[in-house]
């Protein structure tokens, strides 16, 4: 007896690609570390490019692209623009892409000076521009801050992107989540922590694990202008706080 063949449902899954620029590729590594959750994610999307995990390439358009890394030379700018032209939705993920990250520290120096120190006397042969966040080059539809990204947040953003819904990066300080986790405040332990000025959304990941907040998610939109009371109460040096901020937030000052 011939059984009728059930038509295989092939509702095309969204084509998703991952690209990296100036970064440590640690955010890609976070995704490969998904564990079981990866199976659910792969059930919802079709990953067509992901340099750290697969060798396939894709010629067509992308439904969603994830951009990791900051933009540090002319070639990177051109490449990013080409990817954007082929992508319906672009997600910047990781500190390098969303805030400039540690690469932003480059902008604290004269460009030629820093090129010389990295590339030596023939530095002019190596193209280099001041560090830019992804949104300083192309339009960004979604942001996933953090160094590295916080996996539960990536999944939330992916779901929003697949449903065409907006995602708002929390604009409360890390303290908001840290207190809910009932951590002993780092200031009580005698350590200067950037939690009060840094965007939440990581569930105070670092503090939960005994570390201070390094400000990797970038400053809240409207940080307190006057931190003198905090600096006074805990006997801190203002330069120390500023230097801590510069580690991840240097690109905030913009690129001329």
């Amino acid at each position: 007896m011939k059984t009728e063949k059930q038509p295989v449902k092939t509702a095309a899954k969204p084509k998703v690609a991952f690209f990296d620029f100036a970064c440590c590729e640690g955010c890609q590594l976070q995704i490969t570390n998904f564990g079981e959750l990866l199976l659910d994610v792969l059930g919802a999307v079709d990953v067509v490019e992901f340099r750290e995990a697969i060798s396939e390439k894709w010629d067509g358009d992308y439904d969603v692209v994830f951009i990791e890394g900051s933009i540090g030379d002319h070639h990177a700018e051109e490449r990013l623009k080409k990817i954007r032209a082929r992508a319906k939705v672009l997600i910047a993920y990781g500190s390098c892409a969303t805030t400039g990250g540690v690469n932003g520290m480059k902008n604290s120096f004269e460009l030629d000076e820093i090129r010389q120190s990295v590339y030596g006397k023939d530095y002019k042969l190596f193209d280099s521009t001041p560090t830019k966040r992804v949104d300083q080059v192309v339009k960004v539809d979604y942001y996933i801050n953090g160094c590295p990204i916080y996996i539960p947040e990536l999944v939330e953003v992916l779901k929003c992107a697949l449903r065409g819904l907006p995602y708002s990066v929390p604009d409360n300080p890390v303290c908001a989540e840290c207190k809910l986790n009932e951590n002993v405040c780092m200031y009580e332990r005698g350590l200067a922590c950037l939690g009060p000025w840094t965007k939440a959304g990581c569930n105070s990941w670092c503090v939960n694990n005994g570390n201070i907040c390094y400000g990797c998610r970038g400053e809240v939109t409207n940080p307190a202008k006057n931190a003198n009371d905090v600096i006074g109460k805990y006997n801190l040096k203002p330069e120390l706080i500023k230097a801590k901020f510069d580690m991840y937030n240097k690109c905030k000052e913009g690129v001329k």
Binding site: K159, C185, K233
Partner: protein, 344 residues
């Protein structure tokens, strides 16, 4: 008058017996003079002498993150199922300030529309209070609001009499527990020892700000445009610590999360804070409390003015947590003093 006795040497046995029937949560030392209510299985883990915990016991009545319902939108009409998850717990060692905090929240969540998650969870919590024979530290202002003495809100209430605890039985559930454990009745000598402790507290606990609490509503009514709020605004970093640690702050945010199948999901609530810039921002970007000073003022009015009009009770319990946790040195007692001085 229903009082029983528990020798301190028998406390461990008491906790262990209790832990066999329900989860026991008590203050535990976290280092750096910080404490938190956590699950314990023996008396040795409990910090009997502790300053108010980082989070008040409200976390057991309204968890910081709580699922409200599951939904399914795979077919035409969305389906939803209410979600409620709770276990029987005993809270041991709740100070009188925190008992007052729970009483305040009980009033808020019993108002219509009732919050069934809160009310059902509350039924699962057995509360054992613990008297403060002296001040925890200088940030407390419990005498100002009359919360240094017990005023109900517990199943059992412990007072330290040196070698033993005298236990006041507050409810039928409490009665059954002490009877079940076979705790002896208090003697007249024990009761006079309790009187002595209470008498001693009259001297130790004095109105901390030297302002008659009865005059506070009038002071607040006059203080809307006070410079005090501008000063607080200049200090505040909007971290939200003061409201998260407050035993009577209960504001929350609600959001739907969909699962990766994009068909099922859940509705969840999380504690929110009026100190956040996003809190009073509405569609279109208008913010009704844009300035930090206005947000701090709102917090104080939610403790000393609005609840008095509505519930005839101050919603400050005097625990001192907001002052203790503030990184920017915003001090509740100093703020009240400054406001009172201005209104003279």
């Amino acid at each position: 008058m229903n009082y029983h006795i528990l020798k301190k040497t028998e406390l461990d046995g008491f906790v262990k017996k209790l832990a066999k029937t329900m989860k026991v949560c008590a203050p535990v030392a976290k280092g750096h003079n910080n404490f938190a209510f956590e699950e314990v299985t023996s008396a040795g883990e409990i910090a009997l002498s502790y300053i108010p915990t980082i989070l008040p016991p409200k976390k057991y009545f309204m968890p910081p993150r709580e699922k409200m319902l599951d939904f399914d939108i795979s077919e035409g009409k969305p389906k939803d199922t209410a979600s409620f998850d709770s276990e029987k717990i005993a809270l041991f060692g709740v100070h009188t300030c925190d008992l007052a905090g729970i009483q305040c929240l009980n009033m808020v969540f019993s108002e219509k529309p009732r919050d069934y998650n809160y009310i059902l969870r509350k039924e699962n919590v057995f509360i054992i209070g613990l008297e403060c024979n002296g001040y925890c530290d200088t940030h407390a202002s419990c005498a100002l609001v009359g919360n240094h003495y017990p005023n109900g809100g517990y199943d059992l209430f412990f007072t330290d009499l040196g070698e033993k605890f005298i236990i006041h039985v507050g409810t039928q559930k409490g009665e059954e527990l002490v009877e079940g454990m076979g705790l002896e009745k208090a003697s007249p000598a024990d009761l006079s020892a309790l009187d002595k402790v209470r008498e001693g507290k009259k001297k130790t606990f004095q109105n901390e700000i030297g302002v008659d609490p009865k005059s506070l509503p009038a002071i607040f009514a006059k203080g809307v445009d006070s410079k005090v709020w501008t000063d607080l605004g200049a200090k505040c970093v909007s971290c939200g610590n003061c409201t998260n640690v407050c035993p009577t702050c209960y504001c929350f945010d609600m959001a739907d999360t969909i699962n990766l199948d994009l068909k099922t999901g859940s509705r969840n609530r999380t504690w929110d804070s009026c100190q956040f810039e996003t809190f009073a921002t509405v569609a279109g970007g208008e913010n009704f409390r844009e300035e930090r000073g206005a947000r701090q003022r709102h917090r104080f009015y939610r403790k000393f003015k609005y609840p008095l009009d509505k519930f005839y009770r101050a919603f400050c319990t005097g625990c001192g947590r907001c002052t203790r946790t503030c990184m920017a040195k915003i001090n509740l007692k100093d703020t009240l003093r400054a406001l009172a001085a201005e209104s003279k």
